[in-house]
């Protein structure tokens, strides 16, 4: 049979899938005839910059075929051998016991039977569930569609997301400049052009865009950084890790101790204030509260404590002279602050009191005229020219979800009667103790005031949760203090656990029933590259082209796996709710309805789109650039396509999202709601970490470990399921037949512990123990370890025993449960102390 080519999408870009004799033989970046691509041109400094006529996938996307193959796929429905829904359930054996293959009929009967039993006895609130992030791509089949529609139909208790990866920006930066509708990250429109035309220096602060890639935009922006380097723009990298972007751009490296970034930022502000190096006109007109801030920095308040470069040197290890030099150059040049791959993100915001660092990032740029030409907060991964007015649904926005969109006759996701909520980071505590409280609404993207809501579980009139429906994911590698997830799963308070996934994630074998889902290569769907929508509006500007793909079923699902929509339809049928759930639609019906609700239906027919497999939205011939925050700096009404900005188009269109509408050195939202919170004070403070270089635990555990996002996988996706990645020695390293997770250690620390490159080492503290393979390198300074917090494999030496040493590199077993601060519910994986010792020593001794 001749080779067929199908189109599909990954979380790192669009692909062409080549199929022969019912097998996927190879996968390439989406193949589009060159003449169909009309790249934009930016003219700057007498040069013309234009992207290649090709799409640049994220690295693991090139291994999609290998990930799809059956090595680690869930192929059949499974039941834990000692789970009997009508007898002994043995929850204490979750994580220990084996599984037995069962039929789909039996599996569906057990799951629907449990749903019915619990709903009848306790109501829908006794059921909870949550999805993974981005293991698949598509509107019809991916999480917020079928899962949300089904679970809300049951009136389940939702688990609110943690804004993880940008916690400090969400809980902190929003109180300085708004952008709560972007969860604290700044708009990035047209900042590539601004940088090429105007920027003279880029300070990358806790940011490795070559690795984190604007999240879903593959490597589209890699060429932009080549241009910036060739242009000779000076770069500085503030990061405890000599990251890949630093390596590529060959900039100056300043490695602060983890957790000291806020001190460093305050010392820069000190230099600017004392040497008169800031934009006083901007500060006077565009900001409020500067005087309070000035007093804090200069020690006129705060008991006379002055935030000098010498003080910051003691905190960070960066010489005071370097801090002064950086501050002076920053003020003298048009400087872009690149503090996270989307502008706001970065390891430094995922530490104790990480809110304060993120607030300081905004305030530093405010002192230099944020929004003026060349003076931006820009991650270097977003901001390409694009048509941002043509609308196509993204899976994270209501109009892109089958339970909320107008294309649904019954908006089931909006009709959930249960008002009770749980929070992802404290789910184990809530389950095990039966009570929990937390601040905020998870993603507080509607108003700043959402952050001040106090949630109490269980909510009056609701049941505690007794069933956990887990869909995809491997939280053992990514959440904090993850031994508590093992304990949670073994709690008898959880009467029933389902795990529905395509692959065996690290949580799969804690379930009672495992249901095999197929990937988006095995079903029909549609989606736009990178554009998830919701609180990340217009994410397509991280790509050089807007690409909408008809995700075509390439082959039959492996084994007995089924599409998520089909699984939920079968369950709904057993619950007598099939018609309600489906409205008579199959997956293709939904796909076509979504397509026809979009703006591109005016430009291409469904039939043609379905056949061709993609549509590229062209950049308008007369494209008009509207750089992010330029409007604010120039006192104009917001002119960017930032559709989440609720003031846009109103009489307040010149304002930011803060209470005052200005940048707030002293935050009015905090003054009015939590004036006495000394962990997130009205003016940002430096507060020493509860676990850091100067904390008591440092006597016992002398290494600070940081756990950024990974380079060769995405969250936990691709790792463990994609053996090809195991041959990249920067991802995993083979030794004695096992693929170990690397930890980077400075030669001084390695020598002191008698460790050499390639040794298996144990990382340990009071919370956990993990084995890694040592990579001895100058890329981390003495006293600091680096290991990606994203292992998809959890492989404890004693299966099912909380606290057991893990062989597979789940370094988050070591991190603390403590949140950013009392009222800021974000995680803190980069405030972690541990020790390291050679594992062979222990094995032999």
């Amino acid at each position: 049979m001749a080779e067929q080519v199908f189109t599909n999408m990954t979380n790192g870009g669009p692909i062409s899938v080549y199929v022969k004799d019912g097998k996927i033989v190879r996968i390439r970046p989406l193949q589009v005839p060159e003449e169909e691509l009309k790249p934009w041109v930016i003219e700057a400094g007498g040069k013309r910059y234009s992207p290649p006529k090709a799409f640049r996938l994220a690295p693991p996307g090139h291994a999609e075929r290998n990930r799809f193959e059956p090595h680690n796929r869930i192929l059949y429905p499974l039941k834990r051998v000692d789970f009997d829904p009508n007898g002994e359930r043995n929850p204490q054996n979750r994580g220990k016991s084996d599984y037995v293959r069962i039929s789909w009929d039996e599996a569906l009967n057990i799951v629907s039977g449990e749903i019915k039993r619990l709903t009848d006895a306790y109501g829908g609130s006794s059921i909870t569930g949550m999805t993974s992030s981005h293991h698949n791509w598509g509107i019809v089949g991916y999480k917020m569609g079928p899962f949300s529609r089904f679970m809300n139909m049951l009136n389940y208790t939702p688990i609110l997301d943690n804004p993880d990866s940008w916690e400090g920006w969400h809980w902190g930066a929003t109180h300085t400049y708004g952008f709560q509708w972007r969860l604290g990250m700044p708009e990035q429109f047209d900042l590539l052009e601004d940088a090429l035309k105007n920027t003279e220096m880029i300070v990358f602060w806790s940011n490795d865009p070559d690795t984190t890639r604007g999240t879903y935009s593959g490597q589209e922006s890699a060429i932009w950084r080549v241009w910036l380097k060739e242009k000779g723009i000076k770069t500085v990298f503030i990061d405890p890790f000599y990251n890949y972007t630093a390596a590529a751009m060959d900039g100056t490296w300043l490695p602060p101790r983890p957790g000291s970034d806020t001190a460093l930022a305050m010392a820069i502000a000190y230099v600017w204030i004392t040497e008169d190096l800031y934009d006083k006109e901007y500060v006077a007109e565009k900001t409020i509260g500067f005087e309070e801030f000035r007093q804090y920095i200069l020690g006129e308040s705060d008991n006379g404590f002055v935030k000098t470069p010498e003080w910051a040197e003691a905190e960070s290890g960066i010489p005071a002279r370097k801090i002064r030099a950086l501050a002076r150059e920053w003020a003298a040049k048009r400087t872009c602050l690149s503090s996270g791959c989307r502008g706001g993100q970065g390891s430094a915001c995922r530490t104790a009191y990480g809110t304060e660092w993120a607030r300081m990032m905004v305030l530093l740029q405010a002192m230099q005229g944020l929004g003026k030409p060349g003076v931006s907060i820009w991650g270097t991964t977003m901001g390409a020219p694009a048509d941002s007015n043509t609308w196509f649904p993204g899976y994270a926005e209501p109009r892109g979800q089958m339970g909320k969109s107008n294309i649904a006759k019954i908006k089931l996701s909006l009709q959930n009667k249960t008002k009770q909520r749980l929070f992802r980071l404290t789910l184990p505590e809530a389950i095990m103790t039966g009570k929990e409280d937390f601040w905020g609404d998870g993603f507080c993207g509607q108003t700043l005031d959402q952050q001040f809501i106090h949630n109490v579980y269980p909510m009056e009139g609701h049941s505690t949760v007794k069933m956990f429906y887990r869909y995809g994911g491997s939280f053992m590698g990514t959440m904090s203090d993850t031994n508590k997830w093992v304990k949670m799963y073994q709690s008898d308070k959880l009467e029933f656990v389902v795990n529905q996934d395509c692959w065996y994630g690290s949580e799969a074998k804690f379930a009672d029933i495992i249901l095999p889902a197929c990937t988006n290569l095995e079903r029909n769907d549609l989606g736009e590259w990178a554009a998830c929508g919701g609180y990340t509006t217009n994410a397509h500007i991280g790509n050089n082209y807007r690409v909408i793909v008809r995700e075509q079923k390439c082959i039959e699902p492996l084994g007995e796996s089924k599409a998520d929509y089909e699984i939920f339809t079968l369950l709904a049928d057993r619950l007598g709710m099939k018609e309600l759930y489906t409205e008579g639609n199959n997956e293709d019906d939904w796909a076509r309805l979504f397509f026809e609700s979009s703006d591109i239906a005016k430009d291409i027919s469904w039939e043609e789109f379905d056949k061709r497999g993609y549509y590229i939205i062209p950049v308008p011939d007369k494209y008009e650039s509207t750089p992010g925050m330029r409007w604010y700096a120039e006192g104009r009404e917001c002119d960017t396509p930032d559709t989440g900005n609720s003031k846009r188009g109103t009489e307040k269109a010149k304002e930011l999202g803060t209470y005052s509408g200005k940048i707030e050195f002293a935050a009015e939202s905090l003054r009015q709601n939590m004036p006495d919170d000394m962990e997130r004070p009205i003016v940002p403070h430096f507060i020493p970490s509860w676990e850091g270089y100067f904390s008591e635990a440092h006597d016992k555990y002398q290494l600070q470990i940081i756990m950024p996002h990974p380079r060769f996988s995405f969250h936990t996706h691709y790792d463990n399921h994609t053996p090809w990645l195991n041959e990249i020695a920067l991802h995993r390293v083979e030794k004695e037949g096992y693929y170990w997770w690397p930890v980077r250690i400075n030669p001084v620390d390695a020598k002191a512990r008698n460790v050499i490159d390639g040794d298996i080492v144990e990382l340990y503290n009071d919370r956990g123990s993990v084995l890694c393979i040592a990579q001895v390198t100058e890329r981390v300074p003495a006293g600091v370890l680096h290991s990606y917090g994203c292992s998809a494999k959890y492989d404890p030496l004693v299966p099912g025993q909380p606290g057991s040493t893990d062989k597979a590199g789940c370094v988050n077993l070591l991190t603390a449960s403590k949140l950013l601060s009392k009222h800021a519910a974000g995680m803190t994986p980069n405030s972690c102390l541990c020790e390291l010792r050679k594992w062979e020593d222990l094995r032999n001794g």
């Binding site: 033989v25 190879r26 996968i27 390439r28 970046p29 290649p52 090709a54 640049r56 996938l57 690295p59 693991p60 090139h62 291994a63 075929r65 290998n66 070559d210 593959g218 490597q219 589209e220 890699a222 060429i223 080549v226 000599y242 890949y244 390596a247 590529a248 060959d250 100056t252 490296w253 300043l254 490695p255 470069p309 010498e310 005071a320 002279r321 370097k322 002064r324 030099a325 950086l326 002076r328 150059e329 380079r711 060769f712 053996p723 090809w724 990645l725 195991n726 041959e727 990249i728 020695a729 920067l730 390198t777 100058e778 890329r779 300074p781």
Partner: protein, 282 residues
């Protein structure tokens, strides 16, 4: 007639490994007779990235160097013993015949670049074919270059003066090198910017240690040579000399008006961070 090759711009390679994975995708499980048999599921790296970390402290650099079959004009893998099994096509591509080379493990060891791998199961030596099956099928690119996000891998016709690859070789002629050219292999694969040792450090003034010194003069001279290279410290007080010869003694002199100069000799057995040079006030 075209003559195909790849230019590797090391200065642009970020070590993303897309090429490595795309190569696996093309060849694992896929036979392309008569030019290649399927690559085994693991162990082969027809294109691999060598990570080179140099320097110490905060003065470090990390480079990635893609290494694959160099498609030599004088390939060492072709000998009088195996001329039937290994051949160079008129378009410059060197092919190991997957049928005729069965059992010929000696071919693996003949390659000075370590670019040939032994397939245990099929008992054949295997390597990069420059995606010849795609080119013969009318495609204009090869898998590794197709997916390179920065243009670090450029594929094309070396004989076509108008090709991107030829223009690049002209534009960066002073930086173009062949790998192990001393062996006489004459590779068709060319490298731009193969990393060389650097010497870096910082100049500090003894009585102004709270500030960095910008504009201090630092000179470098290879011992026994007359040529002097002069740089000035940047706003961090840092200086750097790149692209130096290996295993050479260099004399460095740091000067600033009103201060006693410091002179020291450094040997480039590797890149060197000479640290802080504190100039005493006169």
């Amino acid at each position: 007639m075209a003559r195909y090759g790849i230019v590797v711009d090391v200065e642009k390679c970020t070590g993303c490994h897309s090429c490595f994975l795309a190569c696996k995708d093309e060849y694992i499980g896929n036979d392309y007779y008569p030019t290649s048999a399927a690559q085994p599921n693991e162990g082969h790296k027809w294109i691999q990235l060598k990570e080179v970390e140099h320097g110490t402290g905060t003065k470090i650099k990390v480079d990635y160097i893609p290494v694959m079959c160099q498609h030599c004009v004088n390939p060492h893998c072709i000998t009088s013993n195996n001329a039937d099994a290994v051949y160079r096509r008129s378009d410059g591509i060197v092919i190991i015949d997957p049928k005729k080379a069965i059992g010929r493990k000696d071919i693996v060891n003949a390659c000075p670049y370590g670019a040939i791998f032994w397939n245990e199961e099929k008992s054949i030596p295997q390597k990069c074919t420059l995606c010849v099956h795609m080119l013969d099928n009318g495609e204009k690119t090869v898998r590794c270059a197709e997916c390179c996000p920065t243009g670090a891998l450029v594929f094309g016709d070396l004989d076509d003066a108008d090709s991107e690859i030829s223009k690049l070789l002209v534009a960066k002629a002073d930086k173009v090198k062949s790998f192990k050219s001393e062996l006489g292999t004459r590779p068709s694969t060319k490298y731009i910017g193969i990393p060389k040792p650097f010497i870096a450090g910082e100049v500090i003034l003894s009585d102004r240690q709270c500030d960095c010194v910008k504009g201090a003069k630092v000179t470098l001279k290879a011992n026994g040579e007359d040529k002097v290279i002069e740089v000035q410290t940047d706003f961090f007080g840092d200086f750097e000399f790149k692209g130096l010869a290996r295993n050479t003694d260099y004399t460095i002199k740091a000067e600033y008006e009103g201060y006693y100069p410091i002179e020291l000799t450094v040997r480039t057995h590797a890149s060197q961070n000479v640290g802080e040079l504190v100039l005493k006030a006169k």
